[in-house]
Assembly symmetry: none
Homo-oligomer: 218 residues x 4
DNA sequence: AATGAATGAGCCTTCATTCAT
DNA sequence: GATGAATGAAGGCTCATTCAT
């Protein structure tokens, strides 16, 4: 009985969270209206205040929730063995990254919200960075360092990991431009993500394996 | 007399344009307040509506103005001869791209605004795409096609040009994340842009020159 | 069993009543929040509506309760004999009035709430007037009439009783001003109330005993 | 021309100030609605924000304005000569006090608002105390000291001035009670104020002239 | 041409109250 | 009997826009 009550409350929270995710993804924090979110969630306008305190806290929760669920569903190394060669890990890292970003359905807003947050950060970004982004960045640097046979602190390692991540986020950050430049391209689905991952991996590995020794390192 | 008035009017327009550029770059279109812009420009709060009609039109003007001035100052191929090898053109393309993005001073807001526009587009984006972005995209595809010895319509050419552009825009799109992840890194200046261009060019050329033949072409 | 439940219920009611008294005294009826009262009472937010119907009814109960307990604790004539001289009764009346008003501890809010009610009355005031205030006013008029050797309906008698009551309520009604004008004065305790009662009594008796015959009676 | 504009603006401010004074007097700060005030003033709901910033600042302005106008219209010593005997000054002080408090028409809300402020002070009270109340309190203490032939710092002087002020404010602070206790009494007008001033003055002078030497002064 | 005053629509938030359990 | 979740009405404030001068 008590569980039923709790379940109902949790359900309401979840509905708000889902609806808020969609709305924030569509129009951004500022233009998102609490009324719209609540209407879409099928709850009263005051429910946000009751469950989350205010709009800003709700947003932070949405961000955290979205990150957690996306990484839980698509962990950075998918099902690659810890002993696999770094090239394999790199491919998995890239593929899972794209899968998170191109996720459809209930998590579709993850990519959008994260993109917005990167361009126009709120206070909620800091928590995400510490919890999720920094660990993933270090993981990637480790993979690159292994491929390059260099220490993880090497500047080239950092620059190359930037080059990798940049290719992954690009399709989301610049999606509005891409859909306008190439309107014929179908929206990316899981298959498209696989092909894209393939390109990025081949492009990156070719670069990493044949990168000339830097002449500008101080 | 009329010319003097016109000159004054043009000056006012310019002041608003500059102030609006700064404000839009700092807080984005939605959070920018007309009052703030006018105050920073030293003009009356009604001046925006008087000179530009409404806030949205002002924004479109700012975007167009910013693109035009940035590309005028840093043309995509800088001073590379049309007969130069494509590798040279690529380096120039990347360098000029970064210079536009990392520009300081009166044009500093160009990169920021463009980034925002890509993640959260307004109606103004379409005009920019037709006028500026599409031509540059085609130019880049031409360079890549030349390096790869493939037709410009080839999918690999398109994907590779994405990989290039993505590395260029990354440092601006994700600057909030980068400054949090690596707070010790100094903000990029012209020298930093040169070193960054060097890395991206070497990374990209290594990739392009050693890219294995695609096995996934449908 | 039923009695135990009733006892529990009565206890809850009491807790709410006490908490409400404090809150109403501190911030007034309008600014008092039902949630705060319930939180301070350690009960559920819905308890007020459950036990008292609504906020207004609760307030009326608090007012009635506060008056009853205050007068019960400090009856207007304290332990003065009915046959005592009127001057003695007057001193007792004034002293008990001040004691009620300056009461500390659980009844501390009596004075504050009554003051608020006089300046900004609610519907609850009427009941208080009929039950408590009118009888006390008549009692005071009787004392004054006896001292002045005039009928209780005499206008001078009424005006003089106003002059007496006004001195008693002043220290509470205007406490915010007094504490700002004379920040060094300690808050009034029982001793202070005694000295104050002494002043008011002497001031008043000097006035009553030497009041010139009115020349303005219509 | 410019003057006409200024005049219009000042007129709007004044209308809001007057309307706000009425509404604040009627229902108090908390229950007063900005929308009601603006409607009564015949201006837009945003006008308060435009002219005063927010509701609280508007209230502070109303309080200041009300005090200034009331004291300007009825200065504490009216037209009594500085060389007049202190008894004469006392009568003038009391009469002007009552006139301010019982003022009808456009300044009718002065008394009400001041009363509310004394029982339930806001941050605005402090300014009023420094500007108006403290000077008047000192003025009264001077008069009383002269009558009693004692120094102004004497405690009896302070207590007696309290006894005087208390009688003056009583009719306003407790008006809700008085109108309920004596519903037949007409509301006080200028004539009523004169008779009341007469009573308070005679009562007070009788007290001051025959006050026994205090036996409780430490 | 340009301004300062004024507007009105709309949003977030508060809070007493109600309802299902 | 008592609770915690949920509601709905309403209020203060923001801000792009308009208007008279």
């Amino acid at each position: 009985m008590v569980e039923a009550i709790d379940a109902a409350q949790v359900a309401t929270r979840s509905q708000i969270l889902e609806a808020a995710g969609e709305v924030f993804a569509e129009v951004g924090f500022r233009d998102a209206k609490v009324r719209d979110i609540c209407q879409r969630a099928g709850v009263n306008s005051a429910a946000v205040n009751y469950h989350f305190g205010d709009k800003e806290t709700l947003y932070a929760e949405v961000l955290r929730y979205s990150q957690a669920r996306a990484i839980e569903k698509y962990p950075p190394l998918l099902d690659v063995a810890p002993t696999a060669p770094p090239e394999e890990k790199l491919r998995a890292f890239i593929f899972s990254f794209l899968l998170r970003v191109f996720e459809k359905g209930p998590l579709a807003w993850h990519g959008k919200i994260t993109s917005r947050e990167m361009v126009d950060p709120t206070a909620a970004l800091d928590a995400i960075i510490v919890d999720k982004i920094r660990p993933m960045a270090e993981q990637l640097r480790g993979i690159v360092a292994e491929i390059l046979h260099r220490p993880v602190t090497d500047e080239t390692v950092r620059l190359c990991s930037f080059s990798i991540v940049s290719q992954c986020v690009f399709y989301h950050h610049c999606r509005p431009v891409l859909t306008r430049l190439y309107p014929d391209q179908p929206p990316l689905d899981t298959v498209g993500a696989a092909r894209l991952a393939d390109h990025i991996t081949r492009f990156t590995l070719a670069a990493l394996h044949h990168l000339p020794v830097s002449t500008t390192t101080p």
